[in-house]
């Protein structure tokens, strides 16, 4: 009986592979981005193998969270000022997609986009602003959110970024080189790779990348957060020391 089951599994696997080519793989290098004193971003490479007749879409995102924003508006009909505090719920801090062709969302149909959480339109459907009920107002605010996030280099959609090189008749290697922005905050980000064909995702691989502070950066952040008084006193003493030592140097000259 066991032998029979194993044979059926084997036959199933062969059928799947013959239909979709080869299983999608995903490797992220480096797995950890270390933020030290001289950190200024990093080259991150996402690579793997896929069937030769598929396109690739890579999504890098952080878990959905709530963020608080101030919205500008006109006061007394003249001045542009912060007029409203808005809480955006269910939005990722960081969200990037990279496609292998000229379509930003990889020619996926709406159902597939919804299923895999791909595209700004899908983010718009899932986010809420408790104080805003009007759909038109919510839509306008989401457009402002996209502008803001893209300006901060925290969201982005990039086409034609994934490159292929052949690997035999039925396989190819994909490669995405990302200039990881230095302002991406420490966190664990998920890396989702989608192999697509005829508007649907035919395979999915997942990995992650961790951004973390090390050395003096970690020490200073921890001190600032956990012991603000000591951190403040040290900052003041160093600033005073720097000021006085410059006087001494100038005096000698």
């Amino acid at each position: 009986m066991r032998i029979l089951v194993k044979i059926w599994i084997l036959v199933g696997a062969i059928l799947i592979l013959s239909h979709w080519g080869y299983a999608l793989t995903c490797k992220v290098t480096p797995k950890r981005v270390n933020i030290d004193l001289f950190y200024h971003g990093e080259k991150v490479i996402v690579t793997g193998e896929t069937a030769s007749d598929t396109n690739i879409l890579v999504k890098i995102s952080s878990p959905e969270d709530a963020e608080i924003f101030m919205k500008k508006g006109k006061v007394k009909g003249i001045f542009w000022m912060n007029v409203e505090k808005l809480i955006f719920k269910g939005i990722p801090q960081v969200y990037f997609t990279y496609s292998s062709d000229d379509d930003l969302d990889g020619h996926l149909n709406e159902k597939e986009k919804q299923k895999w959480g791909v595209g700004y339109q899908i983010l718009e459907k899932s986010f809420t602003i408790p104080s805003i009920k009007d759909p038109l107002q919510k839509d306008a605010l989401f457009k402002e959110l996209i502008k803001f996030k893209q300006n901060e280099h925290l969201w982005g959609r990039f086409k034609d970024k994934v490159r292929f090189s052949p690997l035999g008749e039925k396989k190819k290697v994909y490669k995405l080189v990302i200039d990881w922005p230095p302002n991406i905050p420490p966190n664990v980000y998920s890396v989702d790779v989608y192999a697509m064909k005829n508007g649907v995702v035919v395979d999915h691989a997942q990995s992650s990348i961790e951004v973390r502070k090390i050395g003096i950066e970690k020490t200073l952040s921890t001190l600032a957060e956990k012991n603000g008084a000591l951190y403040g006193i040290i900052s003041i003493l160093v600033a005073l020391g720097a000021g006085v030592s410059t006087v001494v140097i100038f005096k000698k000259k």
Partner: protein, 311 residues
């Protein structure tokens, strides 16, 4: 070369930050202003969040003002007695200003008042300084003599200040005032500084010049002396309560600003008092115009983070 800023959560070019620090330090040494009203918008323009920019700017000003104040003290340009009385007033005024903000926030129009103050104060002070100095340079002034600030026709304000009790001589400032005069003016500066969220140097300098009738060079030194204490208090409170002081950011800017402050102090000695007043007046005017334009022009982004949160 780039360095990562642990609280601002981004990396910045060291030369750019050092250069900004140098320019601010130069202004500090020249005019006796801390430069907070310039540092914060510049750092925000470079992508650093407002609270981190303001708090780290304060920390940076400690070094620049210590350096500048010491240099001016060695040159005999610091009136310690006047400075201490102003500090007493400014600290009390700062406390009062914070309470006023609380009341206005409860009434719902604090932001409007702050912005309007930010426009009216620099435009009024800046234009007055420029026009008054130009008039003096033309030689048709009937109010003050250059540098000595000797009063020929006492105004109503001057007569009122002279009538206050506890008149005392301020040798360095070459003036006699009641001890209440610098305390009251310090309170006024403190209130305005708290409302506007700045150290108050660019309000304090004109007040020393036009109300306390201090010579320009003593004004610069004494103002830096007063600013030093204010920014020490602000930096500590920002680090302790809000955790927004970026030590690395402040340190990089400090290297430039302390050198700039020394050079500014030397340059200040070589410039005439009226020239200094015009330059400072133009600088203050430029800040007022920039704030005004920022409020009138349609912003490119309608959203901004509330607080320090950056993604």
């Amino acid at each position: 070369m780039y360095m990562y800023l642990p609280v601002a959560l981004t990396s910045m070019n060291v030369l750019v930050l050092g250069g900004i620090g140098f320019a601010i330090g130069l202004l500090s040494g020249l005019f006796g202003v801390g430069g907070g009203f310039l540092i914060t918008p510049i750092l925000m323009w470079l992508g650093i969040s407002g609270p981190v920019a303001a708090a780290s700017g304060s920390c940076q000003i400690i070094g620049a003002s210590a350096s500048g104040a010491y240099a001016h003290w060695k040159l005999g340009n610091v009136d310690v007695k006047m400075g201490l009385l102003l500090i007493l007033g400014a600290f009390s005024g700062g406390f009062l200003g914070v309470q006023i903000i609380h009341i206005l926030m409860a009434l719902g129009n604090a932001d409007f008042l702050i912005k309007v103050t930010y426009i009216i104060m620099p435009l009024t002070i800046g234009s007055y300084m420029v026009f008054e100095s130009l008039r003096n340079m033309k030689g048709d002034s009937h109010l003050v003599d250059e540098d000595s600030c000797e009063i020929k026709k006492p105004s109503m304000v001057a007569r009122f200040l002279a009538s206050l009790p506890f008149q005392t001589r301020f040798e360095r400032s070459n003036a006699t005032h009641s001890i209440f005069t610098p305390i009251m003016l310090g309170i006024l500066v403190g209130i305005l500084a708290a409302i506007m969220g700045v150290g108050g140097g660019f309000i304090m300098v004109p007040i020393m010049l036009y109300f306390l009738k201090m010579p320009m060079h003593v004004v610069v030194g004494t103002s830096l002396f007063e600013i030093l204490f204010t920014v020490i208090e602000v930096t500590f409170l920002q680090a302790y309560t809000n955790h927004v002081v970026d030590f690395i950011l402040a340190l990089i800017m400090l290297v430039g600003s302390t050198i700039g402050a020394q050079m500014g102090a030397i340059m200040a000695q070589r410039l005439k008092a009226e020239q200094l007043k015009i330059l400072l007046g133009l600088l203050i005017l430029a800040v007022g115009i920039k704030v005004l334009l920022g409020l009138l022009l349609h912003p490119s982004l309608l959203l901004s983070y509330k607080g320090i949160f950056k993604g």
